[in-house]
């Protein structure tokens, strides 16, 4: 009975190892375009996983998560472009700004619940979008900020590793995303992450048990923004520009769909959802103009046949197999 989860852990570790090895080998197989696509998939995977902390674990569906992605991207982009800050300064500054924005928005948004929370996060993110769009002297308005430089990593001992090439940048992103993902996993399996699941299931009970629910939600809100901001910073370095689209509600909706499509509350699910949507958007459109239609049909089909998301289907299948297995052993 007790060994079973451990076996599962071993399998998961094995899978993760294979995945990481495969990812490490990727630049030797893929052309620069597909490598770029892989970078994009990783960045959006992190973005979606950060939202999963809210949606899947704490049960707080946010429709304004792009705000933190965008605020961080603008901060990093502006500091790199205007003040020439290097990655070691500009990137943490972007993440910090995302955290501060989330702390401020969280104070307002956490007064609401459910659909109202969905909507107030939307409204707040649109306010942030309005600032990015309207404050032309700082943000460049509609056209955004082009020509953000791809950084060089200035390591100790005067080593400098230019990230201009796509392979070098790929490895940079791979390392960054891996570290961020490990941290997220750690958070999710910590007592804190466990308490978030409790809050998702029943806030009233958590209060009655003595949990300071607001504090947990607030920290989760800020943490989710930190990881979203980190993804946004990577994205600005990858694309080398920022525009108000980064924090538009359409992007928030997109990342929420990634989470649901892959399976909320599983962490791996949203990453899969992100990969699927990025792939679909880029591959279908090469063949047909009707990619919106196809994406829409995919959403409807997943909702109908995998209401708990793509990974949800897999988990249910495995659970049913284990049950059958146990039954067979018993008989």
């Amino acid at each position: 009975m007790n060994t079973e989860p451990r076996q599962r852990n071993n399998a998961a570790c094995g899978l993760a190892a294979i995945l990481i090895l495969g990812m490490l080998a990727l630049p030797y197989f893929l052309s620069s375009y597909y490598l770029g696509l892989a970078i994009e998939m990783m960045i959006f995977a992190l973005f979606a996983m950060s939202l999963d902390l809210l949606v899947g674990y704490a049960g707080m569906a946010s429709l304004g998560h792009a705000a933190y992605f965008g605020v961080a991207a603008y901060t990093t982009g502006l500091l790199a472009l205007r003040l020439g800050w290097n990655v070691w300064l500009a990137l943490p500054a972007g993440v910090l700004m995302a955290a501060l924005t989330a702390a401020l928005f969280g104070l307002l948004a956490l007064r609401t619940r459910g659909s109202y929370f969905l909507m107030i996060t939307l409204a707040l993110s649109q306010v942030a979008w309005g600032i990015a769009f309207g404050w032309r002297t700082l943000t460049g308005g509609d056209d955004g900020l082009p020509d953000v430089p791809r950084p060089a990593l200035n390591l100790p001992l005067h080593l400098s590793w230019s990230l201009a090439g796509s392979t070098a940048f790929y490895y940079f992103v791979l390392v960054a995303i891996t570290v961020a993902t490990l941290l997220l996993i750690r958070i999710v399996i910590s007592p804190f992450g466990f308490a978030l699941r409790g809050i998702r299931e029943s806030e009233a009970r958590m209060l009655a048990l003595g949990y300071n629910v607001w504090r947990y939600k607030f920290v989760a809100f800020v943490l989710a923004a930190v990881f979203a901001g980190f993804a946004g910073c990577l994205y600005v370095y990858y694309n080398r520009f920022v525009s108000p689209d980064y924090l538009h509600v359409a992007r928030s909706a997109e990342v929420l769909l990634m989470v649901i499509l892959g399976g909320a509350g599983t962490l791996i699910g949203p990453a899969v959802g992100a990969a699927v949507i990025v792939l679909l958007q880029n591959l279908i459109s090469a063949y047909t103009e009707r990619w919106l239609l196809i994406l829409g049909i995919v959403y409807v089909f997943v909702a109908l046949f995998a209401p708990n998301g793509l990974v949800g289907v897999f988990l249910e299948y495995r659970a049913s197999r284990i049950k059958r297995h146990v039954k067979r052993l018993n008989s």
Partner: protein, 389 residues
């Protein structure tokens, strides 16, 4: 589990192998990206079609080499547009790009294109493409905002306007147009300048504000669905009886006229295309386009797509199809002169468009539909670099 990983690695390998760059000999690949979905698809789709039309005329063969057009949808979003441009360049290995009309997408593309040294004939009216973001590989076959706004402002001045309003999109092309109007009329003579967002549905508050303090006329710098909408509401609020509109750039483009109310008769603009111009080249262009588009008239966007393609074809002919020699192609393109529906067009020393403009007035055609009356020709208009650096 082990089996799975081996298969996965094999699959990855196969995927990689199939993605090696193809030997570039046979067809000339041209990447054509426009917004094909969303609000700006109303310009993006027909402009792409007009590009195709130009290549159809030569049966997709130039200097003995087949032309292959590869289409992508930018969705009018800069990051999507950039990713799609990368797909065209790095996946499809296109020889050149003939793309886009959205300024934010253009701004995001420019550094990438310059860095990867891919010739790009841009149909984005972004002044910076031949200024701050200038590159030998970027050509702009569309007037810059300064270029078209200057023609419009001068034409307005000629009408005897003294005091004017300016209303335009909260976006760079309209902002830059406002700079021009301010310069020509003097800041004190612009009663008010208003910048509603792209896609604003209700212009009533702005119109009522103008109504409260009339001026000689209104300069309007918004396009797509927003142009007929403001004209509709301008007429609704009776402003058509008080202040005429002078549309900047493609404000009265033919495809937008079908959605304008009858009161649009008399609305002026000054731009590079006039659908009713009686030249054999224009007749051919219009007839062909109408035949393929359910009898719809082509407008200025389609004209520019069509002509940009013709410029490319001419330059390719000049270098005998050897598009792999980028420097030769760029050189040929910068020197090419093509006689098209509106007369001759070429590129200036910064790779900006040089072409004929016409003063246009909306009128009722013989069939009862609205059309543009081709007024005064303003020949070979150049981008005013010196005046607006």
């Amino acid at each position: 589990m082990r089996h799975f990983s081996i298969i996965a690695l094999l699959a990855l390998g196969a995927l990689g192998a199939s993605m090696q760059p193809a030997l570039s000999q046979e067809p000339i690949k041209i990447g054509v990206m426009f917004p094909l979905t969303g609000p700006l698809a109303s310009q993006g789709v027909p402009e792409r079609d007009a590009i195709k039309q130009a290549f159809d005329e030569v049966h997709d063969v130039v200097a003995g080499r087949k032309i292959e057009l590869i289409y992508e949808d930018s969705a009018a979003k800069p990051d999507i547009g950039l990713t799609k441009t990368k797909a065209l360049v790095e996946r499809d290995n296109v020889n050149l790009l003939l793309s886009e009309l959205v300024s934010s997408v253009g701004a995001a593309m420019a550094p990438y294109v310059a860095e990867h040294k891919i010739p790009w004939i841009s149909t984005v009216a972004l002044a910076s493409l031949t200024r701050a973001q200038k590159s030998p590989y970027i050509f702009r076959f569309v007037p810059s905002s300064y270029q078209y706004a200057l023609v419009a402002a001068n034409s307005g001045k000629k009408l005897g306007w003294k005091k004017v309003y300016f209303i335009g999109w909260n976006a760079p092309p309209a902002r830059e147009s406002y700079q021009v109007v301010k310069k020509i009329f003097g800041a004190e003579n612009v009663v008010d300048a208003m910048f509603p967002n792209v896609g604003t549905t209700d212009y009533a508050p702005y119109l009522t504000k103008m109504d409260a303090q009339p001026a000689d006329g209104i300069f309007a710098a918004m396009w797509g669905a927003d142009a007929p909408r403001i004209v509709e509401q301008w007429a609704e609020y009776g402003l058509n009886k008080k202040m005429p509109i002078f549309g900047i750039a493609s404000f009265t483009s033919e495809e937008l006229l079908t959605d304008m109310p009858p009161q649009a008769v008399g609305v002026r603009s000054a731009y590079t295309y006039c659908g009713t111009l009686d030249t054999p080249e224009n007749k051919k262009f219009v007839d062909e386009f109408k035949a393929q588009h359910n009898n719809a008239m082509p407008g200025s966007y389609m004209y520019m797509g069509y002509m940009a393609a013709k410029m490319v074809i001419a330059a390719l002919k000049d270098i005998n199809g050897k598009v792999e020699d980028k420097d030769a192609f760029i050189d040929a393109l910068s020197k090419v002169h093509v006689k098209g529906p509106m007369g001759e067009a070429s590129f200036d020393e910064h790779h900006g468009m040089v072409a004929n403009f016409y003063e246009l007035t909306v009128e009722k055609g013989a069939d009862g539909h609205l059309q543009n009356h081709c007024g005064q020709l303003i020949p070979q208009v150049r981008d005013p670099y010196a005046m607006f650096p």
